[in-house]
Amino acid sequence: MESRLIPVNAILDLALADGLNPAPLADAGWAVAALEVPVRASGQTVVCDVVLFNPQAGHLLAVEAKSGANLEPEQGRRLAALTPDLLVIGGGITVPEPVPLRCGVLYACLAENADRICLGADEAGLRVPVLAVSGSDARLLRPQAGDPLLSAALSSPAVWTHPIARVVPFDHESPAEAFDEPVRAELISAMARQRPSITIRALTEQAVRHFPIYGRAAQGRLLRGVRDAARRAAEAEPERFRYERSTGATEERVAVLRSPETFDRRGRTQGYQAVWGSRASRARRRAEIPGQMDLFSELDEAERVATEEESDNGSEGDGDAQ
């Protein structure tokens, strides 16, 4: 994962109780409500990278995930001035219980940048806690500056037991190659569904599932990234795909010229394996001849038929079918 994206993904992972990494924020009651939330206050807009909401405690956490080492004082002051009602409205958050609402700000950054972020906060007069994220853990600095609930939840470092989840795997600032795999997978998906073509716009929204979080400019950059990746993919497989510019009648798109779905079933596997690089197929066992029949084995033959693998990899039938 690009180091830039580690802080935002770390915050998300700490708030998602998926059972792999520790999730102290989820354990304390916070859930991820929204991403890239624009909030307008006093005539100015500030964007919160992540908004967490703890419905039991009525606590909202506006998280600024710093990709670098610089803290912008003006942005910090705008974040600190946010009120719970602005965050609830801006984030479209549902408040299920009539509890008193309060909010706070949390900065998240790479551990190597934490000192500079803390220094920047001091110089700007911002009383905010900072979450320092390293490859091994996430630890809360300046806990006294945060809500006691937050300080308690992160009273000890959260040690990563697994790689940080990549909920936001790439963004508009990612290098070109970051788009290749998701775009290729979506083109294979189009092949499998026997779609004759897919527009670049649709391909972008499919390949970048978090597309809605971004503003117009960033979405435009994402679309260009997807377009470039799609062109590379098509150029690498000219017999299977063709990139087509927009015309008066059609949108810019990728046409699927040949899909393994049109092959005999036995050729499909090899057909897919051959796209963007061949893969050697190992020798596979043949199906065994079914045997006797009784109620228990009544479905053996049916199962062999229904689940047998392709011709070069026979099923594992045990020979007791009809």
Partner: protein, 362 residues
Amino acid sequence: MTSRSDLSIKVPVDGSVPAKAFVLEVHADDPDAYLFEIAGRGNVRDTDDAFLSRVFAPSAAEFWVDRLQPRFWVFHTTGPSAPAAAWLKDRVESRRDTDWMWLPSAHLRYIAPDAQPRRVRTEFDGQRLVGSDDAARDLKVQLSGSHAERLLDRITDLPDYRSAVSFSNIEVDLNDPDLGSLRESVRRWGAFAAHGEQFTHHALFVQMVIGRYARLVESIEALSLRFDPLNEENAAALKDTDTGGASFAGMPIGIRFSRPVPDLPAFCEELFSSRAPFRLWGQPVITQDEALVEAVDLHVGQRIRIELGNDWMRVYLYAGSCGNTIARLISNLQTRFDGALALTHPDLQVAVSLKPDTAPAR
């Protein structure tokens, strides 16, 4: 015309051949049109029941198709099982909106609370994914007898072998004071063979198994990742700014293995080779101890993102995707790599294992 009550005559469970039922997971906006499409309009007959159709499948069998559960259709027949399954397989493999029902091992092990297991089979085949020096690379056990499942339970209790036990088939006796006795043989891909006293007993049993499986699939889908644009009012207020913003829901689905992946590149090569039974396409990016894969489930043609480590897997399912993808992955991993795998989300683990308090500690 035929009514639902006539099914007991059309598909007798007390005849000279077993009654069979095959369950397909179907995504159809227009069920009638879908049925015409897969069977041929001339081969479909209506009945008095809006959810029941009679289908003549050339070269296969006559099916009575029950669509009472809109997503899980039951194809009843007394015809020979092999051609019936072959006909259905053609439909499943030629479409991206149709799949089998992929029962996890525990859904067979605990098939019904009052069932008396009499035959069980495990067909664990780890030849392609389990290391050659592993204590249990391949395990095929079939046992007939009262409480036959206990043998597999005993094997499961042995640490070296538990990962190679996965229920593939089970046959049980059911006795109900009102519905009488029934013997059911069930396969993990959603096929049933029954012999007993009342068709209703069989049909209710099938629906019970489907209902439990449907809850698993729905639980999976409830965790799919969703990014929805923020509300229009907010957008209108910010029309002069270049901002986005989206609400967020869901989380990745974690799987913890009880045995280590022996060779990550080789494991990925097999898992994402597009081959059956997984039928996952992908070009893994492998680092020192982790593989990242933008995969495509070729059964349904949808993309899923997978991260894979030494003893864990993280799957990102996106909103609108079918939870059957994950259920199939679980069922196939159980029979090909680790019969003792666990879902890291507590609710999912309960839905898979059918036992509370089995979610692995974080």
